[in-house]
Every structure is written in C-alpha cells, then in structure tokens.
C-alpha cells in the first residue's frame, strides 16, 4: 500500500511524449484553494510550528540584544582587527544576499523561461528572498558604527552639505540592495494580490475581512484586471531578471574594484551570481522539505519540484567549482607574484581549514545529486543542502578574511578570530530569518494559489 502511494506521489519518471503532472493527488480548483487557505485559517498551527517559533524567536531576541550591545558599545565588540576590517559582518551580508537570489530566479527567470513547475514554489522562494535581504541589510547597517548617521549613505541633503561619493562600489551596493529589496517586495506583494482576494472572500471574521480586504485592494479577478496583471507580471519578471544579476554583480564589485590580491579579479561577478543561486536553491530546499511535510503540501510541492531544484544546485555547484579552479589558473597565468601568493595562502596558509571546508561542501557535496536516489529522497537532499549552505558561508569567509589578513604590508598581517558577538549575531540572524519565515507560513498564502490553478491540465487550453 505504501509502495503504491509512494509511486503515486512520485512524478519524477520521464514518460516520452507526455508532460509530467505538477499537481498530484487529484487536486482541483476547489481543493487547491482549500489546501492552501486552511494553513492560514487553521485556529492553531502544527505543534512543530510552535517549537520552531519558540526557538527562532528566542534567537531573534538574542540578535536584537547583541545589536543593541554593539550600537551602545561600538563595533569593537566584534573580532574585526587592523588588517581584517571586513569580517563576519560582511561575510554574513554577502551570504544572506546570495540566499535571496534563488527567490528572484524562481519568480522571474523561470517565469521568462516558461517553467511551469515554478508556480508551486515561487511564493515561498520570494518570501525567502525578502527575509534573507532583511537579514543581509542588518549587517552593513550596524557595520557603519555610528548608525544614527546612516542616512549619509543616501543622497539626502544634510547639515554637512556633502553628497555621497558615487564613484565608490560601496555606494553602488547601497543602491543595488535597496532597489533589490524594494522591487522584490513589490513583486511579492503584486503576486499575492489575487491570493489575498481569495483569503478575503473566505474570511469568516471581521478582522480577517478588514486585513485581507485592504491587502487585496478590491481585486475581483475580472478579465480586464487579469489582462493588465499578467502584463505587469511579465514586465516585472523582465525587470527583476537583470536586477538579480546586477545585485550580486555589484556586491562582487565591493571586492573586485579594490586592489587587494585575491579580490581584484574580473571573474567575480559571474562567480558570485552562480554562487548566490547555488546557495539560494540549497536554502529553498532546506526550508521546503520540512514545510511541505508539516503543512500538507506534498501534492503541490512534489518530488519533481524538488528534483528540479537539485538539478539546478548540481549545475550551479559545478560552476562554482569551476570558478575555484579558474581562480588558481588566473593567478598562475597572470604571473603576478602577489596574486599567486594570495591563492597559495588561501589553500595552504593559516586559513587552509576554511578553504578545504569550502571546497568539500561546495564542490564535492553537490556531486551526490548525480544519483537519482539523492535527487528524490527529501531527507538526503536536506543533508546535502545544509552542507552547501555551510560551504557557501565559508566561501565568503575565505574570500573576505584570507585576502585581508595577508594584505600588502607584511608588518600588518594578522589573524582574525570571531568574538561571541560575531557568533551570536550569525546565529541570531538565522533566528530572525526563521521567525519571519514561520510567521509567513502561518499567516500568508504560502503557495501562489491562482498560479498553480492556471497550470492544471483541466484549466489549460479550455477551448
């Protein structure tokens, strides 16, 4: 019996001449609506939600406490030191921004490529994008030290009559990340308008009617509304696609436009973007597997969806591995002794342990996805994806810290060690991310209801 159910639930087999079904369990328009809405309408969430929320919100409180400690005391509470001015704060920033990229890739790029399997997971991944960008934005914000004058980053008139320096990649980054956060949030909200209308129309209480009625803006699903909505969605996808590529490109400019050996390379933009997609998909899988179990979404987020994601992880992981190799080739081929030293130092210097952790997790672990067993067994995927996330964090650590700790003047060389504040803030940022995510799962339409319906076979080509 369970074998039969497993077989019914497995849509990863390729049948020539036939498109695999992306919605299983015989779900139709009514039951898809029910399945998704009931998660948010249930009087109480699953017990696992409470446990997870208790843990993550405690970690968030710890994060806020540490941020307060840092603001009142100064950035000296971190382990950043004289050569290593950028350490875990910047590592965490790049890590979290990268995580966000998968969401935009799924919602925009896969939309442009007409990948119908994106519909079940795009809402989920877009939410992840926004929460990851929030976590990312926190670190440079507190890194500036005097946070009360952070508006100096923006081109606002101020009492000093000074404007920001637009020739600095760090300012480009301010614009790129704020634009990315704004556009992602708008895109996310626009995608949810029809689903908010569904929530509104099912609402039983006055509060839900008021809240979702306001959020839905009076959406009625008329053909004229859908016409403009679909055009807007296409335009937003076309805008978000170059945006997502530009954001991590600009993040990589923070490093590549400087002159530090190991940073000053032209391979950074494509390598950063591939790494971002790699880590982002790993995070989506890590979150998606438990969420589909706890919220009963296995018919909507099927094994085929997960398998497709593991294939993208395999591809981007291999690209990242290629980039690691190419960095060494470039260093050798450049004939530049300082560049060569920087890379030999990465692999065999004081941070060799971090470098080889990175290589193991990022290059070797995704190769398991060549095996179908790993691509179709959720718990195996999660293990591999957690390793990928560890590896991608270490990638940013290796890039940032090894180059700085061995900069131009040997007299100022040093070794970086995190303090408890560094460690607490990294863990706390995961707490913040999961807190926001759990709230989203509890109260929002976590699957794009209208989009999933539009790919049902019965709804396509109704002529």
């Amino acid at each position: 019996m369970s074998a039969l159910i497993n077989d019914l639930m497995n849509n990863t087999h390729e049948v020539p001449g036939k498109r695999a079904s992306l919605v299983l369990g015989g779900l139709n328009n009514s039951s898809i609506t029910d399945r998704v809405c009931e998660i948010a309408e249930a009087p109480t969430p699953p017990r696992a939600w409470y446990i997870a929320f208790a843990v993550s919100s405690s970690l968030t409180l710890m994060l806020f406490g540490l941020v307060g400690y840092l603001i009142f005391t100064g950035v000296g509470v971190w382990g950043n030191n004289a050569p290593v001015f950028w350490a875990w704060d910047i590592v965490n920033f790049v890590f979290w921004v990268g995580i966000g990229h998968a969401g935009t890739l799924i919602s925009a790029i896969l939309f442009l490529f007409r990948q119908n399997w994106r519909t079940s997971i795009n809402r989920f991944a877009e939410a992840m994008t926004i929460f990851a960008v929030i976590c990312a934005g926190l670190f440079p914000t507190v890194h500036v030290g005097r946070i009360w004058v952070i508006y100096w980053l923006l081109p606002l008139p101020n009492q000093n009559a000074i404007w920001p320096n637009f020739r600095s990649p760090l300012l480009w980054d301010v614009f790129a990340v704020t634009t990315y956060a704004t556009v992602s949030m708008l895109f996310w909200y626009m995608g949810m308008i029809p689903d908010f209308a569904t929530f509104r129309d099912r609402a039983k209480t006055r509060n839900r009617q008021m809240i979702f009625g306001t959020l839905a803006l009076g959406w009625t699903g008329s053909a004229r509304q859908w016409h403009r909505y679909e055009k807007a969605y296409l335009l937003m996808a076309a805008l978000a696609t170059p945006l997502v590529i530009s954001v991590h490109t600009v993040v990589s400019f923070d490093f590549a436009v400087s002159q530090v050996p190991g940073w000053h390379t032209t391979i950074f933009p494509p390598y950063f973007v591939a790494g971002a997609v790699f880590s982002g998909f790993a995070m989506v899988v890590t979150l998606m597997v438990p969420a589909r179990e706890f919220f009963g979404l296995r018919e909507l987020v099927t094994l085929r969806h997960l398998e497709n994601m593991t294939k993208i992880i395999l591809l981007t992981g291999t690209m990242v591995g290629y980039a690691y190799a190419m960095e060494f080739f470039t260093a050798w081929y450049s004939g530049n002794r300082y560049e060569q030293f920087a890379f030999m130092n990465r692999a065999f210097g004081p941070y060799a342990w971090a470098y080889w952790t990175m290589v193991t997790c990022n290059v070797i672990s995704p190769q398991f996805f060549w095996f179908k067993k790993f691509r179709t067994t959720p718990w195996l995927m999660v293990i591999v994806c957690i390793f990928v996330n560890i590896g991608m964090w270490f990638e940013r650590f290796v890039i940032t810290v090894t180059s700085l700790s061995r900069d131009f003047l040997p007299s100022s060389w040093g070794y970086y060690q995190p303090t408890f504040v560094d460690i607490g803030m990294l863990i706390g940022s995961f707490g913040l991310f999961f807190t926001l995510f759990l709230l989203f799962c509890r109260y929002m339409p976590i699957v794009a209801i209208s989009e999933v319906k539009s790919i049902l076979p019965e709804n396509q080509n109704p002529h």
Partner: protein, 467 residues
C-alpha cells in the same frame, strides 16, 4: 438547470422586497469550469453586449479577444519610468559629485559614465518597477474597497473555484429578462442580480476616518518643526540628539590637569628629542659658526669665564677669531668674539643671487629699503608718524655692518638684533644665506670701481648720467 435558477431568483426576491429595491447594478451568471465560461463568453460576445466582464480565479486565456480588451498601455508606463530613472540617476550623480560638491577621489574624474552606470541601472529598474505595479493598480482602478458584486455570497467564489459572467446595468441593451434568457441559454449554474450599493454601505468602518485624520495631522508635525527651526536662526549651539564626538573626555590646550605632576595638560617635549628632518648638525650652515655653540660653551667652561645667555667669552678667550679686530668702539660686543664663518656655506651662483634678491625684496626691503639704506616704506612711515619707539634700521652700508663676518649677519637674520625679530622660523636656512649673498652684493655696489665691472659692460656705463 432552470429550476435552480428559479430558486435563486426567488431567494433574491425574498431578500430584497420589490418595493424597497434600489436600482439594478448588474446581473451575474456562474459557471463551473474555465471551458464552460469560455463557451458562454463566446455567446455573450456574439450577441453584441458591450459592458460586461468575466471573473475567474486565474487568467483564462482566450477571453481578452471576446471582451475586445485592447492591449494595455502599461508597457509605456514602464518604459517612460525606466528612462526617467536613467536620466535622474545620471543628472543626480553629475550634479552632486561634479557640480555642487566636487571632491577629488584618487584622481578620478568628477563624473564618468562608467562609474555612474551601476546606479543609473539600479534606478532605472527601481523607477520602472514602481511604475509597472503602480500603473497596473491604477489602470485597474484599484484600490476599490466597495463593489456591488461583493454583496453576492456566490460571487465570492470567483477567487476560488467558480467562473462568472457579469453584465452591467449600464449596458445600453440591458434588460433584466433578456439577460436572464441569455444566461439560461448559456447553461449558467446560477444567475443572480446585483443591486447598486447604498451610499452608506460603501463607507469605511467608523474608526478608519479618525485614524487617518490623526495620522495625517501627526505626519505634519515633523515637517512643521523643521520649517519652524529653519526659519528661526539662533546663535545657540546646535542641538545634538547624539553627542557623537563633539563632547568627549579629553584635555584641551592651556588647561590644567592633576594627572601630571606639573599640572600642565600640554606636555613638553622629552629631553633630547629632535623632530624628523630638524636635526642641525652643520654648524656652519645652521648657526653661521665654524663650530657650534656647544663647543663654544665647553671652551668657555675651561676658561672659567662668565657666559651670558646671548653672549660669548671675552675677546681674549679665542685667539682664532681675533684676526678681524673691531675699531675702538667701547664696550666690545661679546658676539663679535664668536667664531663666525667668513665664507658662504652654500654655493655662490647667479641663481642663488637672484633667489636672494627676490627673498630680500619680500622680507627685508619693507624696513631696510630696496638698496639697504634703512629707508624702507615702513621705516619712512613710522618716522613720519614720529613713532617714538621706532628704531631706524642700521644702513647696510655702514662701516661696522660692512665689516661684520657673514656668519654674524646670518645670526642677526636668524635670531634678530635689537628691535628686529628673528626670521629663522619664517625663512628657510638656504634662503637666509641667499639673502645675505644679495646683501653682500648691495654693499659691494657702493664701493665698486671700474675694475669690478665686466669689460663688455663698460661701454654701457658711459651712457649713465654722472652724479
């Protein structure tokens, strides 16, 4: 099918007795699938209705042409906003970094397209995205929180699993019975009438308006405060929310402190320190003496002679300097006895001479006069005003000045003499020697004879007026 329609109709009438019934707003027909609504929409379209719409939980493709929906203008919003974003970004960056506050960074140009491109790109996307979503909402005439359709319980399934055709009462052909007939022919699963909304029903909940008013008034407070502060200049110190580095625990100059035994905040240099580049080992160059003042002091101690702060030993103490005895002018100046150099410690060239002339005219001529007669403009003015404290500078052409060794003159320039301040801090050491070189030339000019003039210039002297 028609039976269920009849029941619906009956229920409608029960809800809204005919007498109190407001105007009809629209009639709606329900369909179970995308296929059935598409087929029905085809009939409605063929029947020539104009003010009607189809509502569905997801976009049903093929409806647009039946409804004769013209392609939306939305892409023009996106394009325009994107272009505006690019222009705004470039103009902003150029104006802020190259015009209003140009500042020099690593020799980069104040404005360059390459450096401005990333921000222009981001602003293009930002503007275009806001315009796209804003345009979609506005063109759809949203937000619209009150809609006669929402009065129908049945219509609420339009966002879930049912499909509806709505024919508005505003359609010129609208007639209740004709629409009813049309919907029945289309095999609608249900037909309902929607009534125009009573004006009172479309209102916000009673709390919303006061909340918006209060929020709006509160939002005006910060700009009003800013405007008030900006229009009332004050001479009080700036108000600091966060004092930052304006007030820090530190010692200010000229204050006292109990931290140090001597109570002084400003610390003297440690004994024996010499600032970088300030070491002066060459006594000939820096002091104008054959050997330095330390050695002079040492010799004096050997001879057990009184030493004044400025002065040196008696004339007899140092035989080496007695070659140039002064004329009998009692009492002898103790300075005269020091081992002054008689040769210039710098190379004597025409370039140095020109430099000395230039420096002399700048620093010395205002008092000493351009020719060194002690009749500079300042001197003349002071004498005109009969300033009692003014002491006329000695003419450089006086016998005693002419006879002074050049080292002693250097000492006067560096440390001052009588009322003249020292210029050692103002004029670099080489320039002081260059001035002295020019001074020697000035002195020589009054005592020269024909042999001193280069032969090729002698003919030109004939033309000069005889004194």
């Amino acid at each position: 099918m028609s039976a269920s329609n009849a029941i619906t109709e009956k229920r409608e009438k029960e809800h809204h007795p005919v007498a109190a019934q407001p105007a009809l707003s629209a009639m709606i027909a329900e369909f179970p699938t995308a296929g059935s609504v598409l087929a029905a929409a085809t009939r409605v379209s063929e029947a020539g209705w104009s003010d009607w719409d189809v509502h569905s939980p997801f976009p049903v493709h093929g409806i647009d042409s039946l409804l004769r929906i013209r392609s939306t203008k939305l892409p023009w919003f996106t394009l325009t906003a994107g272009l505006v974003g690019i222009v705004v970004a470039f103009v902003m960056q150029w104006w802020m970094n190259a015009v209003d506050y140009p500042f020099w960074i690593s020799g980069k140009p104040f404005f360059a397209l390459e450096a401005a491109a990333p921000i222009a790109f981001e602003m293009m996307i930002l503007f275009a995205a806001i315009a796209t979503i804003g345009g979609m909402i506005l063109l759809n005439r949203l937000p619209r929180f009150s809609n006669p359709l929402f009065a129908s319980e049945r219509f609420l399934r339009a966002t879930s699993d049912r499909f509806f055709i709505v024919i508005s009462a505003n359609d010129p052909k609208f007639d209740h019975d004709r629409v009813m007939q049309l919907f029945q022919e289309c095999s609608a699963t249900a037909i309902e009438t929607c009534l125009a909304i009573d004006a009172r029903e479309g209102r916000w909940p009673s709390l919303v308006t006061p909340i918006i008013v209060v929020a709006g008034v509160l939002a005006l407070v910060p700009p009003a405060l800013i405007a008030q502060k900006r229009s009332n200049p004050t001479d009080l110190p700036r108000f600091h929310v966060i004092t930052d580095m304006d007030f820090q625990p530190k010692f200010k100059p000229q204050r006292t402190s109990r931290l140090f035994a001597d109570g002084r905040v400003m610390r003297p240099q440690s004994a024996g320190t010499i600032a970088r580049g300030e070491i002066q080992l060459d006594s000939r160059l820096h002091q104008g003496m054959e050997y330095g003042s330390r050695e002079v002091a040492a010799i004096d101690r050997l001879n057990v002679l009184p030493i004044s702060a400025q002065g040196g030993p008696s004339v007899t103490s140092n035989e080496g300097v007695q070659k140039n005895p002064m004329p009998a002018v009692p009492p002898p100046d103790p300075l005269d006895a020091l081992p002054w150099v008689k040769e210039f410690p710098i190379s004597v060239t025409l370039k140095t001479m020109k430099r000395g002339q230039e420096r002399y005219n700048i620093y010395c001529s205002s008092c000493h006069g351009l020719a060194g007669d002690g009749d500079g403009l300042v001197t003349r003015r002071a004498l005109d005003l009969e300033q009692g404290t003014w002491i006329k500078p000695t003419s450089f052409h006086a016998e005693n000045v002419r006879n002074q060794p050049v080292g002693q003159l250097f000492h006067s320039v560096t440390n001052g003499v009588r009322k003249m301040p020292g210029y050692g801090d103002l004029i670099p050491v080489e320039d002081r020697w260059a001035i002295l070189l020019y001074l020697r030339a000035l002195q020589q000019s009054r005592r020269a004879d024909l042999q001193d003039v280069p032969t090729e210039l002698i003919p030109s002297l004939q033309d000069l007026p005889k004194e």
